[in-house]
Each structure stands twice: as C-alpha cells, then as structure tokens.
Amino acid sequence: MKEGYRKVTICSNREIATDIYEMKVKGSGILGDPGQFYMLKGWLGLDPFLPRPISICDISDDKITFLYEIRGKGTGIMANLKALDKIEILGPLGNGFNLNSKGNIAIISGGIGIAPMIYTMKSIDTPIDFYCGFRDEVYYIDEIKKHANNIYITTEDGSVGHKGFITELFVPEKYDIVMTCGPIPMMKKVVQMCKDKVPVFISMESRMACGIGACLGCSIETTWGMKRVCKDGPVFSGEEVIFYD
C-alpha cells in the first residue's frame, strides 16, 4: 500500500531569483524518478484547500529539492516557510521521462519548467544539450553547466544570453530525442518543430485536485482519448497531446 500525506521537515527554503524559491526537505522513504512530482501542503487549515503539484527538481539520499515560483496563494505561503518547519507531501506521483534514451538528447525548458529537467538531466548518462529560456532573471545555470554538454540560454529581455525565445536557438535535426517542460505555447512550438523529425517528450501542466488519477480534473485530450496528467502523465509523447489554440 502507498503512503498518504506525510510530514517532512524543511532543511532550507531560499529565494534564488525574484519569486523563485528552492526548498529542500528531508524525510524517510523519499523516492521518485525524473519527471515525477509530489503534491505539497505547506499550511495548516483548509485555505488553500487543495495541495499543490510540484515536480522533483532533485533527489539525493533522503532529501528532495523543489524549485518553485510564486504564482499565487499556495506558493506564496510556501515561500514564507523556514528551516525546521514541517510540510506535508504525497508522492512520488505520475510517470516520468524514459531515461533509457540513447543518442543525442536535447532538453528544452521555459521558466520554472526547468525544475523537473534538472533531475532528468542528472539521471541520464549521455551528455545533454540543455536549452533554457527565461523571462529576465536566470537561475540554476551553474547546476546545469556542471552536467550539460552544451548550454543555451535566452532571456526575453536579453539581459543574459540570447535575446528572444529559446525555440529560436533550438535545432531539432541535431537530436535523437527531445525532452521539454515549460509554458504550453513553448512546448507546442517545440512539438511542431520536432514533428516528423525527432521524438519529443513533454511534461504537461494541468490544474489538479486529487493528483492520483481519481477526479479527472486534470484530463487532457490526446490521440488516445482523454488522459490524466497526474496519473497517465505528466510526461507524454509530443505527438499524442492535442493542443488547442
């Protein structure tokens, strides 16, 4: 039987860029594959009501790293937590990336979509080209440099790296496998670029309630019919996801 929500202790929780936080938590039985996520509840009481899905950014020994952006109430409250505070987590959940990938691999992340790609990159033996796009501030670059073969950076305001969108630098033809996580329009673009050229795997986002496949709140349309992001994903093959405009 799987464990339900359990309390873990926060080791550190620091702002690494404007509104971007890195939280490390510690607990027993910490598990997970790259691309999987946890549901987090960093508050007592029922407001916020729903736990929040956050990807595994890294795991080592008994510690998980979460990288998150303040988007609203839940992440805002999480940002207020300090070392030794407790937080409840459920997971690991969902299906991650296939790591038995051979050949030239590209990872493309947009904004906070970088989170799951860190652990993914670290878990793949082959050297990887890491494309990461940001709005203005960049983060986690040192971590990527340590592991990546090449690193490509764009910012929308040109403050760091190339000015523009990350998809402008990406050349699909160079790769045998592409993995991506970021805003839907970016991922849609990546999928279009890779079409008929190279298989692409994308980590989808969707509003979630249960996180375990029961409520059908996170369903998306795929060529195989409705699929649950939380249970059947969050990683899907680029071709199977049906994007809307």
């Binding site: 039987m1 799987k2 339900g4 929500y5 509840k41 029922l46 407001d47 916020p48 009501f49 729903l50 736990p51 459920l90 509003r207 979630m208 309630a209 249960c210 996180g211 375990i212 496949g213 029961a214 409520c215 059908l216 709140g217 996170c218 369903s219 349309e221 019919g225 409705m226 249970k231 809307y244």
Partner: protein, 300 residues
C-alpha cells in the same frame, strides 16, 4: 463493543462511510492507498449510457474552502464500466452503488436496465444533470420533473434506488418528498451547488460552461441544514453529503438524521480520509458510550 453497521434500502453497510461519486473514480486509485473493503461503500464515478469525454477547458478551480468543478461526466459508458471496472469493484468487500447520470429519461432507463443485470448493490440516480430535452434545466430543480424521472426509473429498476438530490432544487424538502412518493428507497444529498468564477484579466468565465459545481467544506453548513430538513420530512433513509472533512462533520450529519455519509472533495486532500473518518466515528462512539449509530441518528 460498538456496532457501526447501517442498513439502507435492505442493503447492509459495514459502516456509514461511503466514498462519493466522481471523487473516487472506480476505486482503483484509492485502492493503492488502502484496502477498499474497509469502506462502508463506494459510489462510482457518474455513469452515462454512452462514453463521454467530459468538458473542455479548466475543470478544477479552487475557491475558499472548496472547489468548483466542471468535469462534465467524463466516463467510459455503462458497457465499458461493466466490462472493465466492475470485475475489480466486485472483488472488494464493500457496498457498491452505481451512480447514474443522464440527459433524458430514456437514457436513465436504458442505463438502469443494463445495471439490473449486474452485481451492483444499488443505483444512485443523479438527477442534477442538465435535461437536454427541457433546454438544459436540470431534472433536479423542479420537483414535478424529478417525480416523473424517478417514477419511470423505479418501474424498471430492480435494484435499491437511491436518488441523489441537487441543492439547487427550488424546494429541497418538497423535492425529497416527491422522490419518496415516486418510489425512491433512499435519498442522498447534496450534489454540488451551482457556482461560477471569473478570470478578471481575460474578462471571461473561468469555465467554458460558465457555471460549475461547488463542493467542499465551504458548503457544509448549507448541506447539513438540507439533510436535517429532508430527514425530518421523509420516511426513507437519507445519506448526507457535503464538505465532510472529519469524523466530527460526519457525526453532525448523522445527528441531523443521516443514515450514512459520503465523502467527496475530502479525498483529494487526504487519500486516507475515509479511513480516518471511520476510525474517528468508532472512537467517538466508544468515548461517548454509543453502541449503535441509531442512538445518535437524528437526535436533533
């Protein structure tokens, strides 16, 4: 020794805690977290005659103390349910209610006829779905329409028939009495409240369908009041639903007159919530010297 068994429409539940429709899938997912045989019962995801993909756009939106949902009855259809899901559910030692939705009386009847031939323990008839023949107004709003639906379904239904009421009914007490008169063996209430949310930046409703269904602890005080009023007004068992998050909430519904309770949104916050509530009820009964649930049922 305490005894938590309850009987509703000739069906015995080992305890009064039932997983609510649409929040528990077909049990498989929660079955990974605990043995489903510990539950009093399970109400399946709402079933329709034919497979449905559900609604497009945002389906879940959090509000203070609750959620708006617009799943749109995504389900594999009755046939697929019977073939793919029922065998798993039948293996669980718990009461199984098949929750049935529909947009026409005819659809309800065909669905129930198929379920007649299965081992499900009872039908939970969800009359909150929009009535396509009557321009989208739900069957569950007007008592007279609900009466007709239940009467016709009753005629074909060979299983215990529980009618699930919508809190959007114009007069919930009259609605309940009409369903009783039409032959319901029990009532469950409440389904979700009609609500909405607006994205002020895009200046559009959050949901494609504009309206969505509100559930969770935010609705509890209203749901409890409805269960109280209905329990006093009918002679068939009532199952209380709405924002139950712990055993205390469950006991409140029982004291308001409910024979059993259903746990919906709470499952999302804690996959073990049903077990915690079952345990809590037992502890409460022990502490308070209550041997049978009937001793406190409807004491208000």
């Amino acid at each position: 020794m305490i005894d938590t068994r309850v009987k509703i429409a000739q069906v015995e539940f080992k305890n009064p805690v039932i997983a609510a429709s649409g929040t528990f899938g077909f049990g498989r997912e929660y079955g990974e977290y605990f043995s489903l045989s510990k539950l009093g019962g399970i109400s399946t995801k709402g079933l329709t005659l034919n497979k449905r993909g559900g609604n497009e756009g945002i389906r879940i939106y959090e509000t203070t103390g609750g959620i708006l949902n617009s799943i749109g009855l995504q389900n594999p259809g009755i046939d697929d349910f019977i073939q793919e899901e029922l065998p798993f559910l039948e293996k669980q030692d718990t009461v199984l209610l098949a929750n049935v939705g529909g947009s026409t009386i005819d659809e309800y009847i065909k669905s129930v006829e198929k379920l007649n031939e299965t081992n499900v323990d009872g039908i939970e008839l969800n009359i909150s779905c929009p009535n396509v023949k009557k321009g989208g107004m739900a069957f569950g709003i007007k008592s007279e329409i609900a009466y007709k639906v239940v009467l016709e379904v009753r005629q074909v239904c060979k299983k215990p028939l529980i009618v699930k009421l919508s809190p959007n009914a114009e007069d919930i007490v009259h609605m309940a009495q009409c369903c009783e008169r039409a032959g319901a063996d029990g009532l469950s209430l409440v389904n979700t409240f009609s609500g909405m949310a607006i994205d002020i930046y895009s200046r559009k409703p959050v949901f494609n369908n504009i309206l969505a269904g509100l559930s969770g602890p935010c609705i509890k005080p209203i749901a409890l009041r409805m269960v109280y009023e209905v329990s006093k007004a009918v002679n068939i068992p009532v199952i209380g639903i709405g924002g139950i998050m712990d055993y205390k909430d469950a006991i409140e519904f029982i004291m308001a007159g409910a024979y059993a309770v259903q746990i919906g949104s709470g499952n999302f916050i804690n996959p073990h919530i049903c077990l915690d509530i079952i345990d809590g009820i037992e502890r409460f009964m022990e502490d308070e010297g209550i041997k049978f649930i009937e001793e406190i049922r409807g004491v208000i």
